[in-house]
């Protein structure tokens, strides 16, 4: 499992500071940081209630923290269905309900050479790790980010070609032509890595695990899943692992979302 951070979740009602489109499918939701919101670790998430005039959207949605400053919590949200569309319609000044920060984070490894591999909306926690907490981009932390095409890249607003960041597109419309795991293999060929981080589509993270196996180095992956409580209570968001203890299942919300990826049953994970 990832870095242990004791649960100190609280329910907050936060004002929307801004909500802007980043790319074709992604938008950046900035919430006013509540004064007593503890410093989150990279990989932790918040559980956000979808604004709805009735009970149409019943379950909360978990989002990894993309950035957290003194004043704001930033979430990157991809439009996948009516719930995320309702969040896209949130306007400056609206109030959203959420609780967090929740879950296990990526481990802080000051002496290690880390290669972080992100795909799609999975960039969020890896960005947070490199840019904010513990924040060592370019100094032993290389961030690789892939998307299908340039239009899907959402890093451009902050960090294109910043030291320590490399981009890949499947169609070659920006950066390395090919998938981000191929880019990772090439990058590591030039300068070795001690640890891999990943967050993105299951197919991508599974390929990262193969790379980690080949290189015989640890790999920490952040998973996502539909959740009920997000506190480890309801056992809805479980994934199959090689662990035992009465059940092979572990919760994404509480045992994860960041897992030591070697314990996961990659062949049985859902492929969204």
């Amino acid at each position: 499992m990832g870095e242990f951070v004791p649960a100190r979740a609280h329910e907050y009602h936060a004002r929307v500071l801004s909500n802007v489109r980043l790319s074709r499918r992604y938008f950046l939701l900035r919430l006013e940081r509540p004064r007593d919101f503890i410093d989150p670790a990279a990989g932790q998430f918040v559980h956000v209630a979808v604004p709805t005039p009735d009970d149409r959207f019943f379950l909360r949605r978990p989002f990894s923290i993309h950035d957290c400053t003194r004043d704001a919590i930033e979430l990157v949200i991809v439009e996948v269905g009516p719930g995320s569309q309702a969040l896209r319609r949130a306007r400056e000044g609206d109030t959203l309900h959420f609780y967090g920060p929740l879950g296990h984070a990526y481990p802080v490894l000051p002496e290690k050479r880390i290669v972080a591999i992100g795909g799609g909306v999975g960039l969020a926690p890896l960005y947070f790790y490199g840019f904010r907490a513990p924040g060592k981009l370019g100094e032993g932390y290389r961030l690789l980010y892939g998307a299908r095409t340039r239009e899907d890249l959402f890093l451009e607003h902050v960090a294109l070609e910043r030291t320590g960041v490399s981009l890949a597109t499947d169609d070659g419309s920006y950066g390395f032509k090919g998938n981000v795991v191929q880019l990772a293999a090439a990058v590591i060929e030039e300068e070795p890595a001690d640890v891999l981080f990943s967050c993105g589509p299951t197919v991508m993270m599974k390929a990262v695990q193969k790379l980690a196996d080949r290189l015989a180095i640890p790999h920490y992956a952040s998973l996502e899943n539909r959740m009920g409580c997000a506190l480890g209570a309801c056992r809805a968001c479980v994934v199959p692992t090689k662990l035992d203890g009465g059940s092979p299942y572990r919760t994404v919300c509480h045992d994860g979302p960041v897992f030591d990826a070697s314990v996961l049953q990659w062949d049985e994970l859902p492929v969204p």
């Binding site: 979740a9 209630a49 959207f57 409580c229 209570a233 309801c234 056992r235 809805a236 479980v238 009465g246």
Partner: protein, 303 residues
């Protein structure tokens, strides 16, 4: 704030607001968000004799005004519960805990009851005779009045000083008959209701969303059905009824008292609104007479 404590069998609870089984794990998980000591109590996840791995994911699926779940009674099993989880509760005497249990046979119910009988740290047992998410027995037990009466009796005999609640299924034509059987078996309360059986399909694959197909439907959508079942139970028995199903607001909770409930449980809505149970406690405590006057009065057998 007035006194809204209630008596269910031999146990006094500080108020009539509980969190339903399966929602808040073994209780402590929700303590960062809910002040559990302010509630009448919490009902744990269902415990079984042996650990259960639960169902293949996915296990949860949002529907309009509610959700389907197919957890499958994943739990640590009786030994670990009694050795690890229950002792934690002993450190929190301020939290009322009803332990939900399920078993496949009468013999297993006897063993469970005998194991719990000498224990401290809990207020009673809620028998889950109505989970739709496991193979065979559990749901069928809850549909068989003779079995419900027998199970109620063999458990109650072994825990005379604890509160015994029987959780009934709404997936049955005549819930009153089952409630009456539980009362005759010596149950202290009827907990009504468990989830409704439901199913949803994935249009892309053409298959059910869940590996097991059918699942349990809960959330605000089931409120009128749950109220109806509580109403029917209230006409059938004189023991207290704990109303469960679709409570998403304070007014929803009030309606259960009008239907004849003595207490209520908040279930699925806790995921959306963890502050709800405490707000219901506050609202009831502002006017204790309302609760006392309404409970059962409008739903007596004569009504």
């Amino acid at each position: 704030m007035g006194d809204i404590s209630i008596q269910i069998g031999p146990v006094r609870f500080k108020n009539p607001v509980f969190i339903a089984s399966g929602i808040c794990g073994y209780a402590e998980e929700y303590s960062p968000l809910v002040n559990l000591s302010r509630l009448g109590g919490v009902v744990t996840k269902t415990i079984t004799m042996l650990p259960r791995a639960g169902n293949l994911p996915p296990r949860i699926h949002e529907m309009p005004h509610g959700m389907l779940n197919s957890i499958g009674l994943e739990n640590v099993g009786l030994d670990r519960y009694v050795n690890e989880k229950l002792p934690q509760l002993n450190q929190r005497p301020d939290v009322g805990v009803m332990v939900s249990v399920a078993a496949e046979t009468e013999d297993e119910f006897i063993k469970l009851a005998e194991r719990f009988a000498p224990m401290d740290g809990y207020a009673g047992l809620e028998l889950n005779l109505s989970c739709p998410n496991v193979k065979g027995e559990a749901l069928d037990q809850g549909r068989n009045p003779q079995l419900v009466e027998k199970i109620s009796r063999i458990v109650k005999e072994r825990i005379p000083k604890k509160s015994l609640w029987i959780k009934v299924t709404p997936n049955i034509t005549d819930v009153g008959t089952v409630a009456r059987a539980a009362e005759q078996g010596g149950a202290d309360a009827i907990a009504a209701v468990n989830t409704l059986v439901g199913i949803d399909f994935d249009l892309e694959t053409g298959k059910p969303v869940f590996a097991r197909g059918s699942a349990g439907y809960s959330g605000p959508a089931i409120l009128p059905i749950a109220l109806q079942k509580v109403w029917e139970c209230a006409k059938a028995v004189s023991i207290p009824i704990v109303g469960i199903g679709g409570i998403a607001t304070i007014d929803d909770a009030r309606k259960f008292f009008l239907a004849g409930a003595t207490a209520i449980q908040v279930g699925t809505s806790l995921y959306n609104d963890p502050g709800l149970p405490e707000r219901i406690v506050d609202a009831l405590a502002e006017n204790p007479e309302w609760m006392r006057a309404r409970a059962r009065a409008s739903a007596s057998p004569a009504a």
